[in-house]
Symmetry: C2
Subunit: 164 residues, 2 copies
DNA sequence: TGTTCGGCTGGTCAGTTTGTACAGTGGTTC
DNA sequence: GAACCACTGTACAAACTGACCAGCCGAACA
Protein backbone atom coordinates (compact mmCIF):
# COMPACT_ATOMS: atom_id res chain seq x y z
CA UNK A 1 0.00 0.00 0.00
CA UNK A 2 2.79 2.32 0.78
CA UNK A 3 4.49 1.80 -2.50
CA UNK A 4 1.70 1.22 -4.95
CA UNK A 5 -0.19 4.25 -3.80
CA UNK A 6 -3.62 2.75 -4.38
CA UNK A 7 -6.66 4.46 -3.04
CA UNK A 8 -7.83 2.82 0.12
CA UNK A 9 -11.29 1.28 0.06
CA UNK A 10 -13.37 2.61 2.89
CA UNK A 11 -13.15 -0.76 4.54
CA UNK A 12 -9.48 -0.97 5.27
CA UNK A 13 -9.45 -4.70 5.92
CA UNK A 14 -9.16 -5.65 2.26
CA UNK A 15 -7.34 -3.54 -0.28
CA UNK A 16 -6.92 -3.95 -4.01
CA UNK A 17 -4.01 -6.31 -3.82
CA UNK A 18 -5.80 -8.45 -1.26
CA UNK A 19 -8.85 -8.59 -3.48
CA UNK A 20 -6.83 -9.51 -6.52
CA UNK A 21 -5.09 -12.20 -4.55
CA UNK A 22 -8.36 -13.65 -3.33
CA UNK A 23 -9.81 -13.59 -6.81
CA UNK A 24 -6.76 -15.35 -8.15
CA UNK A 25 -7.08 -18.02 -5.52
CA UNK A 26 -10.79 -18.28 -6.20
CA UNK A 27 -10.05 -19.14 -9.81
CA UNK A 28 -7.10 -21.41 -9.13
CA UNK A 29 -7.15 -22.41 -5.50
CA UNK A 30 -4.23 -24.80 -5.62
CA UNK A 31 -1.80 -22.09 -6.64
CA UNK A 32 1.21 -21.78 -4.40
CA UNK A 33 2.49 -18.57 -2.91
CA UNK A 34 5.25 -18.37 -5.47
CA UNK A 35 2.94 -18.72 -8.45
CA UNK A 36 0.57 -16.13 -7.00
CA UNK A 37 3.39 -13.65 -6.65
CA UNK A 38 4.32 -14.20 -10.27
CA UNK A 39 0.77 -13.69 -11.52
CA UNK A 40 0.24 -10.59 -9.41
CA UNK A 41 3.61 -9.15 -10.23
CA UNK A 42 4.70 -8.70 -6.65
CA UNK A 43 7.36 -10.26 -4.47
CA UNK A 44 6.75 -13.60 -2.92
CA UNK A 45 7.13 -12.23 0.57
CA UNK A 46 4.37 -9.76 -0.12
CA UNK A 47 1.90 -12.46 -1.05
CA UNK A 48 2.92 -14.40 2.00
CA UNK A 49 2.41 -11.36 4.20
CA UNK A 50 -0.98 -10.61 2.66
CA UNK A 51 -2.22 -14.12 3.17
CA UNK A 52 -1.04 -14.06 6.75
CA UNK A 53 -2.74 -10.74 7.34
CA UNK A 54 -6.00 -11.78 5.73
CA UNK A 55 -5.99 -14.91 7.82
CA UNK A 56 -5.16 -12.99 11.00
CA UNK A 57 -8.03 -10.60 10.34
CA UNK A 58 -10.40 -13.48 9.80
CA UNK A 59 -11.22 -12.55 6.24
CA UNK A 60 -9.60 -15.65 4.84
CA UNK A 61 -10.69 -18.56 6.95
CA UNK A 62 -9.08 -21.35 5.00
CA UNK A 63 -9.25 -23.50 1.92
CA UNK A 64 -11.84 -26.13 2.66
CA UNK A 65 -12.35 -28.84 0.08
CA UNK A 66 -15.46 -28.16 -1.98
CA UNK A 67 -17.50 -31.34 -2.04
CA UNK A 68 -20.30 -31.68 -4.54
CA UNK A 69 -23.08 -33.42 -2.67
CA UNK A 70 -24.94 -34.10 -5.89
CA UNK A 71 -21.97 -36.11 -7.14
CA UNK A 72 -22.08 -38.02 -3.88
CA UNK A 73 -25.65 -39.05 -4.48
CA UNK A 74 -27.43 -36.28 -2.62
CA UNK A 75 -28.99 -34.79 -5.71
CA UNK A 76 -31.88 -33.08 -3.99
CA UNK A 77 -31.72 -29.82 -2.13
CA UNK A 78 -34.63 -28.37 -0.21
CA UNK A 79 -35.24 -25.40 2.04
CA UNK A 80 -37.28 -25.64 5.16
CA UNK A 81 -38.82 -22.87 7.19
CA UNK A 82 -39.60 -24.00 10.72
CA UNK A 83 -41.81 -22.57 13.36
CA UNK A 84 -40.78 -23.65 16.79
CA UNK A 85 -42.29 -23.62 20.23
CA UNK A 86 -41.46 -20.59 22.34
CA UNK A 87 -38.12 -20.73 24.06
CA UNK A 88 -37.03 -24.04 22.64
CA UNK A 89 -34.73 -22.88 19.92
CA UNK A 90 -31.59 -24.30 21.46
CA UNK A 91 -33.22 -27.65 21.79
CA UNK A 92 -34.50 -27.63 18.23
CA UNK A 93 -31.17 -26.53 16.83
CA UNK A 94 -29.45 -29.38 18.60
CA UNK A 95 -31.99 -31.77 17.17
CA UNK A 96 -31.45 -30.44 13.68
CA UNK A 97 -27.69 -30.53 14.04
CA UNK A 98 -27.95 -34.22 14.77
CA UNK A 99 -29.48 -34.84 11.36
CA UNK A 100 -26.69 -35.15 8.82
CA UNK A 101 -28.83 -34.13 5.88
CA UNK A 102 -29.39 -30.76 7.50
CA UNK A 103 -26.53 -28.82 5.98
CA UNK A 104 -27.19 -25.35 7.33
CA UNK A 105 -29.50 -23.65 9.82
CA UNK A 106 -30.18 -19.98 10.39
CA UNK A 107 -32.31 -18.22 12.95
CA UNK A 108 -34.32 -15.57 11.17
CA UNK A 109 -36.76 -12.76 11.64
CA UNK A 110 -40.16 -13.06 10.02
CA UNK A 111 -42.74 -15.83 10.14
CA UNK A 112 -40.49 -18.79 10.44
CA UNK A 113 -38.10 -18.94 13.32
CA UNK A 114 -35.53 -21.18 11.74
CA UNK A 115 -34.45 -21.67 8.22
CA UNK A 116 -32.68 -24.84 7.11
CA UNK A 117 -31.08 -26.17 3.98
CA UNK A 118 -31.31 -29.92 3.64
CA UNK A 119 -30.21 -32.45 1.06
CA UNK A 120 -31.50 -35.89 0.19
CA UNK A 121 -30.92 -38.74 -2.23
CA UNK A 122 -34.40 -38.84 -3.68
CA UNK A 123 -37.92 -37.65 -3.11
CA UNK A 124 -38.59 -40.58 -0.84
CA UNK A 125 -35.42 -39.85 1.04
CA UNK A 126 -36.39 -36.21 1.37
CA UNK A 127 -39.68 -37.29 2.84
CA UNK A 128 -37.81 -39.30 5.42
CA UNK A 129 -35.55 -36.38 6.30
CA UNK A 130 -38.47 -34.01 6.61
CA UNK A 131 -40.26 -36.46 8.85
CA UNK A 132 -37.16 -36.61 10.97
CA UNK A 133 -37.10 -32.84 11.23
CA UNK A 134 -40.76 -32.63 12.14
CA UNK A 135 -40.16 -35.18 14.84
CA UNK A 136 -37.57 -33.00 16.53
CA UNK A 137 -39.14 -31.92 19.84
CA UNK A 138 -40.11 -28.28 19.76
CA UNK A 139 -40.81 -28.11 16.04
CA UNK A 140 -44.34 -26.82 15.53
CA UNK A 141 -44.61 -26.46 11.82
CA UNK A 142 -42.48 -27.01 8.79
CA UNK A 143 -42.93 -25.72 5.30
CA UNK A 144 -40.49 -26.81 2.69
CA UNK A 145 -39.73 -26.11 -0.91
CA UNK A 146 -37.44 -27.94 -3.26
CA UNK A 147 -34.64 -26.28 -5.15
CA UNK A 148 -35.26 -26.91 -8.82
CA UNK A 149 -32.12 -25.20 -9.99
CA UNK A 150 -29.44 -22.87 -8.77
CA UNK A 151 -29.06 -20.09 -11.31
CA UNK A 152 -26.60 -18.24 -9.10
CA UNK A 153 -24.37 -20.61 -7.16
CA UNK A 154 -22.78 -19.39 -3.92
CA UNK A 155 -20.31 -16.69 -4.80
CA UNK A 156 -18.19 -13.93 -3.33
CA UNK A 157 -16.58 -12.87 -6.56
CA UNK A 158 -18.58 -9.71 -7.37
CA UNK A 159 -17.91 -8.26 -3.96
CA UNK A 160 -14.19 -8.79 -4.41
CA UNK A 161 -14.20 -7.46 -7.93
CA UNK A 162 -15.79 -4.31 -6.66
CA UNK A 163 -12.65 -3.60 -4.66
CA UNK A 164 -10.34 -4.42 -7.52
CA UNK B 1 -10.49 -51.19 -1.60
CA UNK B 2 -9.01 -54.33 -2.89
CA UNK B 3 -6.54 -54.71 -0.13
CA UNK B 4 -8.25 -53.24 2.88
CA UNK B 5 -11.39 -55.27 2.36
CA UNK B 6 -13.74 -52.60 3.65
CA UNK B 7 -17.42 -52.89 3.10
CA UNK B 8 -18.52 -50.85 0.14
CA UNK B 9 -21.04 -48.07 0.79
CA UNK B 10 -24.03 -48.45 -1.46
CA UNK B 11 -22.92 -45.36 -3.32
CA UNK B 12 -19.69 -46.52 -4.81
CA UNK B 13 -18.41 -43.07 -5.67
CA UNK B 14 -16.97 -42.42 -2.23
CA UNK B 15 -15.58 -45.16 -0.06
CA UNK B 16 -14.26 -45.08 3.49
CA UNK B 17 -10.79 -43.99 2.57
CA UNK B 18 -12.15 -41.24 0.34
CA UNK B 19 -14.36 -40.02 3.14
CA UNK B 20 -11.55 -40.06 5.65
CA UNK B 21 -9.40 -38.14 3.24
CA UNK B 22 -12.07 -35.53 2.68
CA UNK B 23 -12.65 -35.19 6.39
CA UNK B 24 -8.97 -34.76 6.97
CA UNK B 25 -8.81 -32.06 4.35
CA UNK B 26 -11.91 -30.43 5.79
CA UNK B 27 -10.18 -30.09 9.12
CA UNK B 28 -6.79 -29.05 7.74
CA UNK B 29 -7.22 -27.96 4.16
CA UNK B 30 -3.66 -26.85 3.60
CA UNK B 31 -2.30 -30.33 4.16
CA UNK B 32 -0.17 -31.65 1.34
CA UNK B 33 -0.55 -35.03 -0.26
CA UNK B 34 2.41 -36.38 1.64
CA UNK B 35 1.12 -35.31 5.02
CA UNK B 36 -2.31 -36.73 4.23
CA UNK B 37 -0.80 -40.07 3.41
CA UNK B 38 1.04 -40.07 6.73
CA UNK B 39 -2.07 -39.23 8.72
CA UNK B 40 -4.17 -41.81 6.93
CA UNK B 41 -1.51 -44.46 7.09
CA UNK B 42 -1.44 -45.16 3.37
CA UNK B 43 1.09 -44.62 0.63
CA UNK B 44 1.46 -41.24 -0.93
CA UNK B 45 0.54 -42.54 -4.35
CA UNK B 46 -2.73 -43.82 -2.97
CA UNK B 47 -3.76 -40.42 -1.67
CA UNK B 48 -2.77 -38.90 -4.96
CA UNK B 49 -4.84 -41.43 -6.87
CA UNK B 50 -7.85 -40.91 -4.61
CA UNK B 51 -7.75 -37.17 -5.01
CA UNK B 52 -7.49 -37.53 -8.76
CA UNK B 53 -10.38 -39.94 -8.79
CA UNK B 54 -12.60 -37.81 -6.58
CA UNK B 55 -11.87 -34.84 -8.77
CA UNK B 56 -12.54 -36.79 -11.95
CA UNK B 57 -15.87 -37.94 -10.57
CA UNK B 58 -16.80 -34.40 -9.69
CA UNK B 59 -17.13 -35.09 -5.99
CA UNK B 60 -14.19 -32.88 -5.12
CA UNK B 61 -14.52 -29.70 -7.09
CA UNK B 62 -11.59 -27.79 -5.66
CA UNK B 63 -10.27 -25.89 -2.71
CA UNK B 64 -11.74 -22.43 -2.98
CA UNK B 65 -10.60 -19.85 -0.47
CA UNK B 66 -13.22 -19.38 2.23
CA UNK B 67 -13.83 -15.68 2.63
CA UNK B 68 -15.68 -14.43 5.67
CA UNK B 69 -17.92 -11.68 4.38
CA UNK B 70 -18.66 -10.49 7.88
CA UNK B 71 -14.96 -9.83 8.39
CA UNK B 72 -15.01 -7.86 5.17
CA UNK B 73 -17.70 -5.58 6.47
CA UNK B 74 -20.76 -7.39 5.15
CA UNK B 75 -22.07 -8.28 8.54
CA UNK B 76 -25.69 -8.67 7.58
CA UNK B 77 -27.19 -11.69 5.85
CA UNK B 78 -30.76 -11.82 4.66
CA UNK B 79 -32.92 -14.23 2.75
CA UNK B 80 -35.35 -13.09 0.11
CA UNK B 81 -38.23 -14.97 -1.42
CA UNK B 82 -39.25 -13.49 -4.74
CA UNK B 83 -42.35 -13.84 -6.78
CA UNK B 84 -41.73 -13.08 -10.39
CA UNK B 85 -43.84 -12.36 -13.43
CA UNK B 86 -44.70 -15.40 -15.54
CA UNK B 87 -42.01 -16.45 -17.94
CA UNK B 88 -39.48 -13.90 -16.93
CA UNK B 89 -37.27 -15.97 -14.74
CA UNK B 90 -34.23 -15.79 -16.97
CA UNK B 91 -34.49 -12.05 -17.06
CA UNK B 92 -34.89 -11.73 -13.32
CA UNK B 93 -32.02 -14.07 -12.62
CA UNK B 94 -29.76 -12.02 -14.84
CA UNK B 95 -30.82 -8.91 -13.00
CA UNK B 96 -30.10 -10.50 -9.66
CA UNK B 97 -26.76 -11.84 -10.81
CA UNK B 98 -25.75 -8.29 -11.64
CA UNK B 99 -26.15 -7.29 -8.00
CA UNK B 100 -22.98 -8.18 -6.13
CA UNK B 101 -24.66 -8.45 -2.76
CA UNK B 102 -26.80 -11.27 -4.09
CA UNK B 103 -24.63 -14.22 -3.14
CA UNK B 104 -26.84 -17.11 -4.16
CA UNK B 105 -30.10 -17.71 -6.02
CA UNK B 106 -32.23 -20.81 -6.27
CA UNK B 107 -35.37 -21.51 -8.22
CA UNK B 108 -37.80 -23.27 -5.96
CA UNK B 109 -41.18 -24.92 -5.76
CA UNK B 110 -43.75 -23.39 -3.46
CA UNK B 111 -45.09 -19.85 -3.16
CA UNK B 112 -41.97 -17.98 -4.04
CA UNK B 113 -40.39 -18.63 -7.38
CA UNK B 114 -36.89 -17.60 -6.50
CA UNK B 115 -34.97 -17.72 -3.32
CA UNK B 116 -31.93 -15.52 -2.75
CA UNK B 117 -29.30 -15.03 -0.11
CA UNK B 118 -28.02 -11.50 0.14
CA UNK B 119 -25.50 -9.68 2.30
CA UNK B 120 -25.16 -6.06 3.30
CA UNK B 121 -23.04 -3.75 5.41
CA UNK B 122 -25.83 -2.38 7.58
CA UNK B 123 -29.58 -2.13 7.81
CA UNK B 124 -29.56 0.93 5.62
CA UNK B 125 -27.38 -0.86 3.13
CA UNK B 126 -29.72 -3.83 3.18
CA UNK B 127 -32.58 -1.51 2.41
CA UNK B 128 -30.69 -0.26 -0.60
CA UNK B 129 -29.94 -3.78 -1.81
CA UNK B 130 -33.53 -4.85 -1.39
CA UNK B 131 -34.70 -1.80 -3.29
CA UNK B 132 -32.31 -2.73 -6.03
CA UNK B 133 -33.75 -6.23 -6.15
CA UNK B 134 -37.32 -5.00 -6.23
CA UNK B 135 -36.38 -2.75 -9.11
CA UNK B 136 -35.25 -5.67 -11.22
CA UNK B 137 -37.77 -5.92 -14.08
CA UNK B 138 -40.01 -8.93 -13.64
CA UNK B 139 -39.91 -8.99 -9.85
CA UNK B 140 -43.47 -8.89 -8.55
CA UNK B 141 -43.04 -9.26 -4.85
CA UNK B 142 -40.25 -9.70 -2.37
CA UNK B 143 -40.42 -10.85 1.19
CA UNK B 144 -37.25 -10.91 3.16
CA UNK B 145 -36.04 -12.01 6.52
CA UNK B 146 -32.81 -11.27 8.26
CA UNK B 147 -30.51 -13.97 9.57
CA UNK B 148 -30.03 -13.30 13.24
CA UNK B 149 -27.62 -16.12 13.80
CA UNK B 150 -26.34 -19.24 12.14
CA UNK B 151 -26.52 -22.05 14.65
CA UNK B 152 -25.48 -24.61 12.04
CA UNK B 153 -23.00 -23.20 9.56
CA UNK B 154 -22.73 -24.80 6.11
CA UNK B 155 -21.36 -28.28 6.56
CA UNK B 156 -20.81 -31.57 4.81
CA UNK B 157 -19.07 -33.28 7.65
CA UNK B 158 -21.89 -35.48 9.00
CA UNK B 159 -22.57 -36.92 5.60
CA UNK B 160 -18.93 -37.87 5.21
CA UNK B 161 -18.69 -39.24 8.71
CA UNK B 162 -21.58 -41.50 7.95
CA UNK B 163 -19.43 -43.26 5.37
CA UNK B 164 -16.43 -43.52 7.64
C1' DT C 1 12.84 19.75 7.16
C1' DG C 2 14.37 15.62 9.11
C1' DT C 3 13.34 11.18 11.37
C1' DT C 4 10.91 7.14 12.17
C1' DC C 5 7.94 3.57 10.69
C1' DG C 6 5.71 0.21 7.87
C1' DG C 7 5.38 -2.12 3.58
C1' DC C 8 7.53 -3.76 -0.57
C1' DT C 9 11.53 -5.61 -3.19
C1' DG C 10 14.87 -8.95 -4.55
C1' DG C 11 18.13 -12.09 -2.91
C1' DT C 12 19.76 -16.35 -0.34
C1' DC C 13 19.46 -20.69 2.29
C1' DA C 14 18.23 -25.38 3.81
C1' DG C 15 14.50 -28.45 4.12
C1' DT C 16 10.45 -30.40 2.26
C1' DT C 17 7.09 -31.63 -1.13
C1' DT C 18 5.59 -32.66 -5.73
C1' DG C 19 5.26 -35.11 -10.03
C1' DT C 20 6.39 -39.09 -12.09
C1' DA C 21 7.93 -43.51 -12.69
C1' DC C 22 8.64 -48.38 -11.60
C1' DA C 23 8.72 -53.07 -9.63
C1' DG C 24 6.42 -55.95 -6.27
C1' DT C 25 2.34 -57.93 -3.73
C1' DG C 26 -2.16 -59.54 -2.86
C1' DG C 27 -7.14 -59.72 -3.61
C1' DT C 28 -10.86 -60.33 -7.29
C1' DT C 29 -12.89 -61.79 -11.58
C1' DC C 30 -13.58 -64.68 -15.53
C1' DG D 1 -4.82 -70.16 -13.57
C1' DA D 2 -4.37 -65.72 -15.89
C1' DA D 3 -5.50 -61.07 -16.14
C1' DC D 4 -6.62 -57.13 -13.75
C1' DC D 5 -6.72 -53.68 -10.35
C1' DA D 6 -5.46 -51.17 -6.18
C1' DC D 7 -2.06 -50.41 -2.94
C1' DT D 8 2.89 -50.34 -1.33
C1' DG D 9 7.57 -48.79 -1.21
C1' DT D 10 11.21 -46.70 -3.56
C1' DA D 11 13.69 -43.42 -6.41
C1' DC D 12 14.97 -38.95 -8.57
C1' DA D 13 14.86 -34.37 -10.42
C1' DA D 14 12.33 -30.17 -10.17
C1' DA D 15 9.84 -27.03 -7.62
C1' DC D 16 8.10 -24.93 -3.60
C1' DT D 17 8.18 -23.38 1.26
C1' DG D 18 9.50 -20.88 5.36
C1' DA D 19 12.81 -17.99 7.15
C1' DC D 20 15.85 -14.43 6.90
C1' DC D 21 18.17 -10.17 5.31
C1' DA D 22 19.60 -5.50 3.43
C1' DG D 23 17.86 -1.83 0.93
C1' DC D 24 14.33 1.34 -0.92
C1' DC D 25 10.37 4.26 -0.71
C1' DG D 26 6.32 6.81 0.83
C1' DA D 27 3.57 8.40 4.82
C1' DA D 28 3.12 10.23 9.28
C1' DC D 29 4.93 13.17 12.76
C1' DA D 30 7.72 16.40 15.44
Amino acid sequence: MAQDGQVEHFDQSVDRLDARLLLLLTDEPRLGVLECSRRLGVARGTVQARLDRLTARGVLTGFPPAVDLAAMGYGLTAFAVLEIAQGRRREVVDGLAAIGEVCEVHATTGQGDLFARVVARSNADLQRVIDEIVDVPGVRRLSSSIALSTPVPPRVRPLLERIT
